[in-house]
Amino acid sequence: MSHVRRWLPDSWNPLYSLGAASFYLFWIVAASGLYLFVFFETSIDGAYLSVEHITHEQYYIGLVMRGLHRYASVMMAVTVTVHLIRELVLGRFTGPRWFSWVSGVPLLWLLFASAIGGYWLVWDERAQYVALVTARLFDALPIVVEPMAFGFIDNATVSDRFFTLLIFLHVGIPLSLLLGMFIHIKRINNASIFPPRQYAAWLLACLIVVSLAVPATSLGPADLDAPLRQVEIDWFYMNFYPLIDQLGPTPVWLALLGVTGVLMALPLMVRPKKMPIAAVDPDFCNGCGWCFADCPYEAIYMKPHDYKPNHEQAVVIADSCVGCGICAGACPSATPFKSFNQANSGIDLIGTKNVDLLSMVREDLGAREKKGRILVVGCHHGVDLTRLEEADTTTMTLECIGQLPPSYMDFLCRRESLDAVLLTGCSEGNCFYRLGIDLQEQRLLRLREPHVKFSDVKEKIERLWVGKGGEEALREAIEQIREELRSEMA
C-alpha cells in the first residue's frame, strides 16, 4: 500500500476526483441558488432586505441554503484551480487532450463571473465594493464609451432594473458555465461527473457544518452616498480586486489576459512525446465494437467493414488516440487459444503489439522453474517492475493495464502452467489513462466483455493498484503469494 493510501483511501482522495467534485459542487450551488431565487427580490431595497430575511428569518433553512450557495462556490473555485494545476503538472494538456484543456480555460472566467455576480446581487457594502472596482476594471477597456461607474455615482443613479439585469446575468452566466463544462468533457468517454458516494455525502455534510459554524451573512446595506471604509471580501474570487485598487486596472487586465493566453497556448508550446497509436487490422476485426465502447478518449468509431458483408469495422481517429492500448485489451480476436489467427488482434498499438509481448512472456516463462511461477503485469506509469523480477517471478509492462486482454491470463495459466498473476499499475482512481483500472476490474469480475473465462484462473489473479510509490507493497504482495503457493504445494 502506498504511503498516501495508508492514510487516505483512494476513493476519498480529493485529488482523484477534482473534476467530478467540481460538477457535484456546481449542482449544489445550482440547487441552493434556486431556493434563494424563490425568495429574492429584484429591487434596490428589496435585494438587501430579502437576503436578510432568507438569512435570519427562515429557521436556519435559509441560512444553510445561503451557506451552501457560498461555500460550495468557494470549494468549486478550489477544486477547479487544483484540477487545472494537477493536469498541468501531469502534462495532461497536450496531444489529443488539447481539446479538454483549451475548452477548460475559459470556464475559469465564467466561474469567476458567476461568483462575483452573486456577491453583487446582495447589494451590501461588499456588493458596493464589487460594483465600484468591477466598474473601474471594465472602464479601462478602450471600447467603453461611457464609464460603467456612472451607474454607481450615488444612490439615485442605481435603478431597480439594474437588479433585473444582474439576476439575468447571474442565471445566464452559470448556464453558460454548465454548457462549457459539458463541452469540456465532450471528447472524454465515461467522464466522471459524480464523485464517489461516501466522499460526496461527506463533502455535503462538511458544507452544511461550515454554513452553520461560519454563516454566510451580508455586510451593512450599500450606500453610494457614504464612503466605504473596511470591506470583508471573498479572497477565493476577489483576490485580484485589491490589485485593481493598488496597481490600476491596466496591469491587472494584462496579467489576466496574459495568463489566459499562456494557458490556452500551452498545447501549442509543449509538443507531446510521440506515442504509438492504435491501428485496426481489418482481417481480424470482427466488428464487435468493444474497443469502441472502451476507448477513454472517443478515438474509435465503427463503420461498415471494408470487405466483410454485414460486418462492422473499427476505425481509429489518429488525432484523438493517446496510445493507451485499452482497445487492444478489449479485442476478442486477440485470444491466443485460437491457433488459426496466432493471437492476432483486430486492433493493436503500432510497434508494440500485444502478441509480441505475449511471446516474450511465454519465452521467459519457459526458461524458469515449472512450479510456483508468478507473473506481475503493470504499466509504464506505475512501479518499475524489472526490479521485482526473480527466479520465480516474471514481469510484463504495458502502456496501460487495460491493454492486457483477459484471454492472455486464461491462456498463460492453463497452457503455460502459470501459478499466479498479480496485476498492478496506477493507484486506484488515478489511472493515467483514466479508465484502464476500472475496465480491467470489470473484465476480471466478468462484468464486461471480454472477461476471464475460467473460474480457476480467476482465483489465481490478484490486483494491487498502488501507483509509482508502491514498490514495497508489491514486494509484500508477491511474498504473500509465494507463501500461499508454497503451502498449496506442500
Binding site: 487516505l8 464609451v145 464517489p196 461550515v210 457614504a226 464612503p227 471573498d234 477565493f236
Partner: protein, 171 residues
C-alpha cells in the same frame, strides 16, 4: 470503499483534512478585510460628461456646392465631425490630484467625452480647483471651478462637469 471499512487512521486524516479545508473556506471567504477609504478621509468623485467642442469651425456652403449634393444632404452649413480632446485637472489644497486628457469616444472621435475618478481626501475644509480646457488649440481654460469645500467623513463629495457647467453634491 464502504463506511465501515474506514479505519481510525483514515478517520483522523479525513476529519483533520476536512477541518483544515473547510476552516480555510470559512475564513478566507470573508477575511481579511480591505481598506477602501482610510479613517479621517472621505471619497471625492469626479464625474465628467461633456458633449465637447468641434475641432474646426462650421462653414456655409454656396449654391453651387449645395447643388452637387444629393437632395437629402443639402444643408447650408457643414460642420467638421471630429471633436477636440478635453483636458481636465483637479487640484486639492494646491496638490494636483487628477490630470487627464480625454479623447471623445467613437471611431471618429465625435462622441461624448466622459471621465470618472475616485480619490480619498482628508475630511475638513479643503480648497478645490478644477480646470477644464475643451479646445486643444486654445491655451486658456474654458471652465474653472474654484471652491472651498467642507468635507464630512460620512458623505461622498462629487464634482460633476457637464454641458451645464460644474455642480458639486455631498458637500
Amino acid at each position: 470503499m464502504r463506511w465501515r471499512e474506514l479505519t481510525i487512521r483514515h478517520w483522523v486524516v479525513i476529519l483533520l483534512g476536512s477541518g483544515l479545508i473547510m476552516g480555510a473556506a470559512g475564513m478566507f471567504s470573508h477575511s481579511p478585510s480591505v481598506t477602501v477609504v482610510p479613517e479621517h478621509s472621505t471619497q471625492l468623485k469626479l464625474v465628467v460628461r461633456y458633449s465637447g467642442q468641434r475641432l474646426g469651425e462650421c462653414e456655409p456652403l454656396d449654391a453651387d456646392a449645395l447643388s452637387r449634393l444629393p437632395a437629402n444632404m443639402r444643408q447650408p452649413i457643414v460642420c467638421p465631425r471630429e471633436k477636440s480632446p478635453l483636458y481636465a485637472e483637479l487640484v486639492v489644497d494646491g496638490e494636483t490630484r487628477v490630470e487627464a486628457t480625454i479623447a471623445p469616444s467613437g471611431i471618429h472621435h465625435d462622441g461624448v467625452i466622459a471621465l470618472y475618478r475616485e480619490l480619498s481626501v482628508p475630511v475638513g475644509t479643503v480648497q478645490v480647483t478644477m480646470n477644464i480646457r475643451d479646445r486643444a488649440d486654445v491655451q486658456e481654460f474654458s471652465h474653472v471651478l474654484h471652491r472651498k469645500l467642507e468635507l464630512d467623513a460620512d458623505r461622498v463629495v462629487t464634482i460633476h462637469f457637464s454641458d451645464d457647467g460644474f455642480r458639486v453634491t455631498g458637500a
